[in-house]
Structures are given as structure tokens and as C-alpha cells.
């Protein structure tokens, strides 16, 4: 990814290969409040560039400006200053939304529609019809594993199912960019894992994903680029690996190592000038992985 420090932002509509999927340039968003004379600045000079195929995670605490940034990108709010573009098209133009799928935080769809009807509705809005539409609806229901609930009213869906049908509607027109606002908020670990697997599938297919979350572990698992936003300002941005690696330390993970071997290695390190053993011990799984494994074992 090209960061703000590394390149000058340019909109390049005639060069599809180099056109960023998302380009947010010096975005500022102020909201008028009735309680304060001074407007509330929700987003303060934020710039983000996401190239096609990348999975970008915008992380930050609640109220830091993540959702407002996404809404500005989707044209749901107008920037006070700055510009947002999707594949080179200004976000305030309707045609910029041809290439985008969006899943808002805690979405509620029309409760009177079934899962299949919901997808048909969104598909028709995107210009799909006939066999193309029917095919896409079936494909999306299979993708999010909701074929069994296709004719059930959305009102009877669980939280995790709602998120998955939301993801399916976001993908219905086969967009090149998917924007996910807190995609796993309020979902249990199993549902959360399913959604993360779906995001990984999208990444494998070359679809650009822009997600925001305050669940850091999940972002770390799926994103290759991250930005940290705090009080409306972007305070850190870059490749995930580069941001989280500790440059002066190295991991060596051994299998079936005897205590004697570990003692030998430790002694070797201690004999080397400038090097030291920081920590030895057994790697631990995460509580989430343990939970998922136990659930799976119980089901079998």
C-alpha cells in the first residue's frame, strides 16, 4: 500500500490497474450540535489509500470516527472538506456505488422478507434480473451458509444470521470493494469465525475489503494493512506485519524439544555477545480457538 508519506494522492480514472479502490484525501467532517457553539469534529484530516485486492482494517475506540469515515466514503454524509473516491469516482456520485457492497453496524433488514426475498430486493436495486438474479441469490445464500433459512422471515434470524445475510446483500452485485462496519459486533464466536472465514474468501478472490472494528485480534487475523484512528485523527497507518513486528526479537518455535536441547540452545545464546533469551515456554492457543475446538468436538 502507498501511504500518505510515500506518494502524492492523485485520482487516476484512466488507469484501472493503478486506480486505488479507496482514496480518502484529507477528509474533515464536522457535525453541528445544538449543545455546543463549536461544531463537533468527528473526522480530522484523515487520508487513506487502499489499492485493489487489499484488506484494510481501520481500528479505533468507539466514537473515534471510523463509521463517519465509512459513511463519507459511501456518500451518506458529505465531507466538510476533503475528497473521497471509489475506484476513481467521487463518492458523492451515485455511480461510484456500482462497485461497492456495504454492511453497516448492527444491520436490521426488512423483517417481513425472507432471506431469499431480501437478496432479490437488493439484487434488483443493482439492476439484476431474471436468471442472473436467481443465480446470484442462490450463490450468495450458499456462500454465507443460509440455504436452509432462505425462505424463513428475517425477523426470525439470529444475530449471526443477520450479519451473514447482510454480507450476502453487500456482495449481491459482485462488487470489487466491500465495506464492513463492525462485521462481527454482537456475534458469538462461531458466527464471528464464519464471518472472518468469509472475509478471507473475499481476499482470496481479489476483492478489496475495507473494514472497521475495535476487536483488534480479528483485524489482525484478516487484514494486511491497518490504520489506527483516535479522536478523529489517523495516528498510525501501514502494513500490519511492519507495524506489529518487534525488530530486535526473533521467534523460534520447536517441536518435541527435550529439556537438554533447550538448555544447549540457551547456553549457545548466552555465549553469543549481545544476544539474550527473552522468554522460553509453551506457546498458548487463544481462548477463542479453544472454544471453537471444544464446540466442534462436541458436535462430532
Amino acid at each position: 500500500m502507498l501511504t500518505s508519506a510515500g506518494c502524492e494522492y492523485m485520482l487516476c480514472p484512466l488507469m484501472p490497474e493503478t486506480t486505488p479502490a479507496v482514496e480518502i484525501r484529507n477528509l474533515v467532517k464536522d457535525f453541528k450540535t445544538s449543545f455546543r457553539h463549536k461544531p463537533l469534529r468527528a473526522v480530522d484530516d484523515v487520508s487513506i489509500r487502499i489499492m485493489p485486492g487489499e484488506v484494510y482494517g481501520l481500528i479505533g475506540p468507539n466514537g473515534s470516527g471510523k463509521s463517519t469515515t465509512m459513511k463519507a466514503l459511501l456518500g451518506l454524509v458529505a465531507p466538510t472538506s476533503g475528497k473521497c473516491a471509489i475506484f476513481g469516482k467521487d463518492s458523492l456520485m451515485v455511480d461510484s456505488r456500482n462497485e461497492v457492497g456495504f454492511l453497516p453496524e448492527n444491520p436490521y433488514f426488512y423483517k417481513h422478507l425472507s432471506g431469499a426475498e431480501t437478496l432479490r430486493f437488493y439484487g434488483k436495486l443493482c439492476g439484476l434480473a431474471g436468471k442472473d438474479l436467481a443465480g446470484r441469490v442462490n450463490e450468495m445464500l450458499a456462500l454465507v451458509d443460509l440455504e436452509g433459512a432462505r425462505d424463513r422471515r428475517i425477523g426470525g434470524y439470529s444475530k449471526g444470521m443477520l450479519q451473514r445475510i447482510g454480507l450476502a446483500q453487500a456482495l449481491i452485485q459482485e462488487p470489487r470493494l466491500v465495506i464492513l462496519d463492525e462485521p462481527t459486533a454482537g456475534v458469538d464466536p462461531v458466527g464471528s469465525r464464519q464471518i472472518r472465514d468469509l472475509i478471507l474468501k473475499l481476499r482470496d478472490r481479489g476483492i478489496t475489503v475495507f473494514l472497521c472494528s475495535h476487536l483488534l485480534e480479528q483485524v489482525q487475523e484478516v487484514c494486511d494493512h491497518v490504520g489506527i484512528i483516535f479522536q478523529g485523527r489517523m495516528i498510525r497507518e501501514g502494513r500490519l506485519e511492519e507495524l506489529i513486528s518487534i525488530e530486535d526479537q526473533t521467534d523460534i518455535v520447536l517441536k518435541d524439544a527435550t529439556p537438554e536441547l533447550i538448555a544447549k540452545i540457551t547456553a549457545l545464546v548466552e555465549d553469543t555477545p549481545g544476544a539474550s533469551v527473552v522468554r522460553t515456554g509453551k506457546p498458548r492457543t487463544t481462548l477463542e480457538r479453544l472454544f471453537l475446538r471444544e464446540i466442534r468436538d462436541e458436535e462430532q
Binding site: L76, V77, A78, R176
Partner: protein
């Protein structure tokens, strides 16, 4: 999943508006709003038996019953259509915002005008279908009752030894109160009035913060619309005010913005058995379409810049 190539967009404004309007219609139908049709059926049938004060001869009794059926039925149609158009429209927009379904719709390539027009047309489709069903029931009841009244009157007149031309005249007078084209025109006028109210409720809901506010203000404007023409006349004719250019311009502006529902008094004339001329209906249609379009475009003007 297939390859990640972008699907070319083939959707037109028309298809998107159609999608949203049929969806809105389905949404309202599944809210079980058609239950009120059962109430209407009771009113239409019960109106056969309402006793009206009788000061005329026995030959007028039948015509009064027919007038009663028309009056109660058209009154119920007006009530249901206006309530339905205001409440349904006031409900839809805030609900979509609250449930965030609006985000998912506007995040698709859907112009905001298409969304508004689709919602409004969905409500109008519901009102139209409701009125058509009520009209069918009223026409059926009126047709059957007219036949019974004509038979009773003919029998009575023959028993009293009326001449044939007098019997024919009485029959013609009674049939004028039966189902005819003017009655259908009156039902269409009811639909036009409901359309104006639905588009007005849409306009208010674009800046209102609650469904209750939209509903109350819409009903207030509905009632104001019934006497605004009188109020303007009184103002213009009172003293010096009416002579000023400003007063006349203000009056014109008021008439352009606030619908004059006295124009719809033709419905009352139809109840009394008068014919509704095609020209009058045409004029009423133009007025209805003008206000509906004016309020819809005003809604769009506000909604286009609204932030969510």
C-alpha cells in the same frame, strides 16, 4: 463464487422505483393494513339500514337509502385513504433510518429521488388497491339496492295508479342515485386527495424527527386545506388588505403551497346524485398531480442533502 468481474449495471430509474414501490406495497400489506376492509364492508352493508329524517313523500324513501349508502361509503373511503396515506408514509422513512436499512439501500447505486419516489408510489399503490376494493364493494351493494328500490317504487306507483310517464320519470330519478361513471369519478377524486396527503406526509417526514410529528402536522394541514380558500377570500375582501399587491401575491403563494381541498367538494355533489363533468374531473386531476409533484420534488430537494 464466480470470478470477481464487475457486473454491468442495467438498472434504470424506472426499474429501481418499481422495485422499491412493489416492496413498499408488500411491506404494508404484510403489516395487515387490509384488515380495515372488513370494517368498510360492515359500514357499506349497515348503511342500507340507517334511518334518515324523512320529510318527503314515500317515493323519495328509496333514493334517500341510496344516498345514505354513497355518503357512508365515500366518507369511509375518504377516512381510510387519508389515514392510510398519512400514517403509512409517515412511518416508512423514519423506520428505514432507525433500522439502518436505508444505509444498505443508499449504499447501492440508488439515487435518492428513486428511493423517495418508490416509497411514495408504494403507498399510493396500496391506497389505490384499497380504494378499488372498497369501490367494488360499494358498487355491488349500490347496484343490488338500486334494483330493489326501483322494483319497490314501480310496484308502489302502479298500485297508486301513477301514469306511465310519471313512473318512468321516478325510475330515472332513482337510477341517477345508483352506480354510474360520476360515482367512479368521485372515488378517483378521493384517490387524488389521498395522493396529495401522501406526498405532503413524505415532504414532512424528510425533515421531521418523529412519525408522530409528521402525522399530526399532516392532519393539521389536511384540515387547514378545507378552509384555506375561505380564509383567503375573507382576507382579500376585508378592508384595504385585499387591494395590495403583496396581499394578492401572498394569497397566491399560499394557494400554490397549501392544497385547497374545497375543490374536492364535487364528491358531495355526486352523493346528491349530480353528475361529475369530465372537464371538472380533468381539472381536479391536474390540481392533484400538481400538488403531488410539488411536494415530491420539495421532498427530494431536502432529502438529497440529508446526512445519515
Amino acid at each position: 463464487m464466480s470470478t470477481p468481474t464487475s457486473i454491468p449495471m442495467q438498472g434504470s430509474h424506472f426499474s429501481r422505483i418499481l422495485t422499491i414501490s412493489t416492496h413498499t406495497f408488500t411491506q404494508l400489506v404484510r403489516m395487515k393494513v387490509f384488515y380495515f376492509l372488513a370494517i368498510f364492508a360492515v359500514i357499506a352493508i349497515a348503511s342500507n339500514f340507517f334511518e334518515l329524517p324523512q320529510h318527503e313523500g314515500p317515493e323519495a324513501v328509496g333514493a334517500n337509502v341510496l344516498r345514505s349508502i354513497k355518503s357512508w361509503s365515500l366518507g369511509a373511503m375518504t377516512l381510510f385513504s387519508v389515514v392510510l396515506s398519512i400514517v403509512a408514509t409517515a412511518l416508512l422513512l423514519p423506520k428505514d433510518v432507525e433500522d439502518r436499512t436505508l444505509y444498505t439501500i443508499l449504499a447501492k447505486p440508488v439515487p435518492r429521488f428513486d428511493y423517495l419516489a418508490g416509497k411514495l408510489l408504494g403507498v399510493l399503490l396500496l391506497v389505490f388497491v384499497s380504494l378499488a376494493l372498497m369501490d367494488g364493494l360499494m358498487t355491488a351493494v349500490l347496484h343490488i339496492r338500486t334494483g330493489m328500490v326501483v322494483a319497490e317504487q314501480t310496484e308502489m306507483a302502479q298500485a297508486m295508479g301513477w301514469p306511465q310517464d310519471a313512473i318512468a320519470s321516478l325510475r330515472a330519478d332513482t337510477l341517477a342515485h345508483g352506480p354510474d361513471a360520476s360515482l367512479q369519478g368521485a372515488v378517483f377524486a378521493v384517490f387524488l386527495r389521498a395522493s396529495i396527503m401522501a406526498s405532503l406526509a413524505l415532504l414532512i417526514s424528510t425533515f421531521s424527527t418523529s412519525t408522530l410529528f409528521t402525522t399530526i402536522v399532516s392532519f393539521l394541514i389536511y384540515f387547514i386545506g378545507h378552509f384555506q380558500a375561505d380564509a383567503r377570500d375573507v382576507w382579500l375582501q376585508a378592508g384595504q388588505a385585499g387591494e395590495g399587491v403583496f396581499a394578492r401575491l401572498a394569497s397566491l403563494l399560499l394557494a400554490l403551497v397549501l392544497p385547497d381541498f374545497q375543490l374536492f367538494n364535487v364528491i358531495d355533489a355526486v352523493i346528491q346524485g349530480e353528475a361529475l363533468p369530465l372537464l371538472a374531473l380533468g381539472k381536479l386531476t391536474l390540481v392533484g398531480v400538481y400538488y403531488a409533484l410539488f411536494f415530491t420534488f420539495a421532498s427530494w430537494f431536502i432529502f438529497a442533502d440529508k446526512e445519515f
